[in-house]
């Protein structure tokens, strides 16, 4: 275990973050006053089953926070509790420093939870006007929100005629009404085509650039990897990890395939000072791996060649968020 990083070695993917349950610790990273959303041992039981089991997390002002987890992990239930739609069984939460679901907190929060909920017989514009009226907003805000999600041209069509992606974009438009400080978006890219996803990614970047905080739940880990500053990973109702995406992905790995391996290890060590470990790849072949940070790769290759080792491949491996996520969820199971 690398205590400095808080990682454990597990499986063939190498390093994965240690499964740190933050339930007992609370959202203690950073300044608590800087948290726009925080929960402390938040729990929701349905009958005897814990849908959310003691989650403590903190979303900092101005960041894009990815909320990850497999289906049924408790993400949406947690988000519902943050919006006051569902009452927690125990634990506490605050949004903007206020109780979740309080009118003041909700007026400063835009949200899209588990798909958009609109009146099918109304047009997109009329639906947004209804929502805007609840917030005391007007036509200007509606037009601006529609424009931001690129739905202006279809705004007068009835909601029931929209494609899944258009419905989703209208849901995001409703969340943007009045430029709230905090956006809680549950799977906002559901049903979007690749262009729509890219557009959504740009929108999230823009929102972040404007200083808005985004709490984003998504299954699309590539999206999260590109968009989010920090992530929280929920598995079976518990927060398994909370930290930056870079920390979660871990160090880049230097991977060497060469024979004989003992001479290869010595050659790399002599040329770069880097220590390599013997591991096996998925096909059972021996691979030498080590931390790639700070390693002079050309020097390592020169050393291997000078030692007369047969070099099959030298590569730097970066693990995707998806690799880490799958490893984490499998490890928990």
């Amino acid at each position: 275990m690398d205590a400095r990083r808080g990682y454990v070695q597990a499986g063939r993917c190498g390093y994965v973050p240690a499964l740190m349950s933050r339930g007992a610790r609370g959202a203690d990273d950073g300044d608590m006053n800087d948290h726009i959303v925080s929960t402390d041992r938040l729990t929701k039981h349905y009958g005897g089953r814990a849908a959310v089991d003691g989650i403590s997390l903190g979303v900092r002002r101005g960041e894009v926070y990815g909320f990850l987890g497999p289906n049924g992990a408790g993400k949406t239930t947690t988000l519902r509790m943050l919006l006051g739609l569902v009452r927690p069984t125990s634990g506490t939460a605050s949004v903007h420093g206020l109780a979740p679901g309080s009118p003041d907190a909700l007026r400063r929060t835009g949200s899209l939870i588990e798909g958009p909920g609109f009146f099918p017989y109304l047009s997109g514009v009329d639906n947004l006007l209804v929502v805007a009226r609840y917030r005391g907003l007007g036509r200007y805000d509606v037009d601006e929100a529609l424009d931001r999600v690129e739905l202006t041209s279809r705004g007068k069509d009835r909601f029931r005629t929209y494609s899944l992606g258009m419905k989703q974009r209208l849901g995001v438009a409703a969340a943007l009404l009045g430029r709230p400080d905090l956006l809680i978006l549950d799977e906002p890219t559901n049903g979007l085509d690749p262009a729509g996803m890219a557009s959504m990614r740009r929108l999230i970047h823009d929102l972040s650039d404007d200083g808005q905080t985004v709490l984003l739940s998504s299954h699309l880990l590539a999206e999260v990897q590109q968009c989010c500053d920090r992530v929280g990973v929920v598995v079976e109702g518990r927060l398994s990890y909370e930290g930056t995406v870079a920390e979660l992905r871990g160090a880049r790995m230097l991977e060497v395939r060469a024979e004989p391996v003992d001479r290869a290890v010595r050659a790399v060590k002599a040329a770069t000072g880097a220590a390599l470990d013997l591991t096996e790849d998925g096909d059972g072949r021996t691979v030498l791996t080590g931390d790639a940070d700070g390693v002079d790769v050309p020097a390592a290759i020169r050393g291997l060649v000078a030692e007369g080792v047969d070099v099959h491949a030298v590569a730097i491996r970066e693990r995707s968020l998806e690799d880490v996520f799958l490893t984490m969820t499998e490890a928990t199971r």
């Binding site: 739609l85 569902v86 798909g115 909920g117 009146f119 017989y121």
Partner: protein, 282 residues
């Protein structure tokens, strides 16, 4: 107060653009046209009073003239008027659960009390509008009958007229409150409408049948919602509920019926608020 006003405006906007609002309003006016004018007039014109409740011909004509407006207006409210309004209110709340719009509304920050209050106010405005349109429609038809039959136009007694309008609003308001409660209870449109119609057209009548068999059971059946609505209508018609008009009864006095309906409105609305405020929104 601001949140309540915003909620009411938002709900009214969506209800007035909802086809169901206009379809149900149209059904109400069509039924008024058919049962209060078309069928009686056909019976009158063909000289076959037996075709419509067997009343004397001059009485049949008089029931369609302007001076009978108070009775004509309220006679249809306990049965089909109440059912139509109950369907409308149940659909209003139940469909909002079905479409997921409660979630959208409640996350805008009006507060559950204000959101529910706004919805109740918007439904109340629609019911008041329906009574107003129905009054104008009924009066217009009675003027037409008077003109066609060359009858003198005699305005109804104002006291009777206002009592009828107020009574109609109270009866429809009670059924609307019942519909709101059923929609909130079942969290869906189909079950709420089904249960409401079952109660309106079947259960109350069956209970009244049971009351005829069981001594003392009429203490219960006399105070059911339909009994109150029917009795209020009966108290405002000349026949006093004894002419066989469906749903019009004479088991309670007008005052008793009004108080009973007021209590039902309060109870149904209190239950609706409680259900919306207390339960999780999926």
């Amino acid at each position: 107060m601001n949140a309540l006003a915003h909620s009411a405006r938002a709900e009214l906007r969506r209800l007035l653009r909802w086809p169901a609002t206009w379809v149900l309003g149209g059904v109400w006016l069509t039924l008024q046209l058919l049962f209060a004018f078309a069928f009686p007039y056909i019976a009158y014109a063909t000289g076959d009073p037996d075709a419509f409740q067997g009343g004397p011909m001059d009485q049949l004509l008089a029931s369609m003239l302007p001076q009978s407006l108070p009775e004509t207006l309220i006679a249809g409210t306990p049965m089909f008027g109440g059912a139509i309004v109950m369907i409308f209110a149940a659909l209003t709340v139940g469909s909002a659960y079905n479409w997921g719009t409660w979630k959208t509304v409640l996350t805008q920050g009006p507060g559950r009390g204000a959101a529910t209050g706004g919805l109740v106010a918007a439904v109340g405005v629609c019911v008041a509008g329906l009574v107003a349109v129905s009054t104008a429609f009924t009066y217009g038809l009675s003027l037409l009958v008077a003109a066609v039959e060359s009858q003198d136009i005699v305005a109804p007694a104002w006291g009777d007229f206002f009592a009828s309008v107020g009574g109609s609003a109270l009866i429809l308001g009670m059924w609307a409150a019942a519909g709101l409660f059923l929609g909130a209870l079942t969290r869906g449109p189909a079950l709420s409408v089904g249960l409401g119609l079952l109660w309106t057209f079947a259960v109350e009548n069956l209970l009244r049948g049971a009351a005829a068999l069981i001594d003392g059971f009429d203490v219960v059946t006399d105070y059911l919602p339909g009994s109150g609505a029917g009795s209020l209508a009966g108290s405002l018609t000349a026949a006093g509920g004894g002419d066989g008009t469906p749903g019009v009864l004479d088991v309670l006095t007008g005052t008793q019926a009004s108080v009973l309906l007021g209590v039902y409105v309060a109870v149904f609305l209190a239950l609706t608020f409680t259900l919306v405020k207390r339960r999780d929104v999926a």
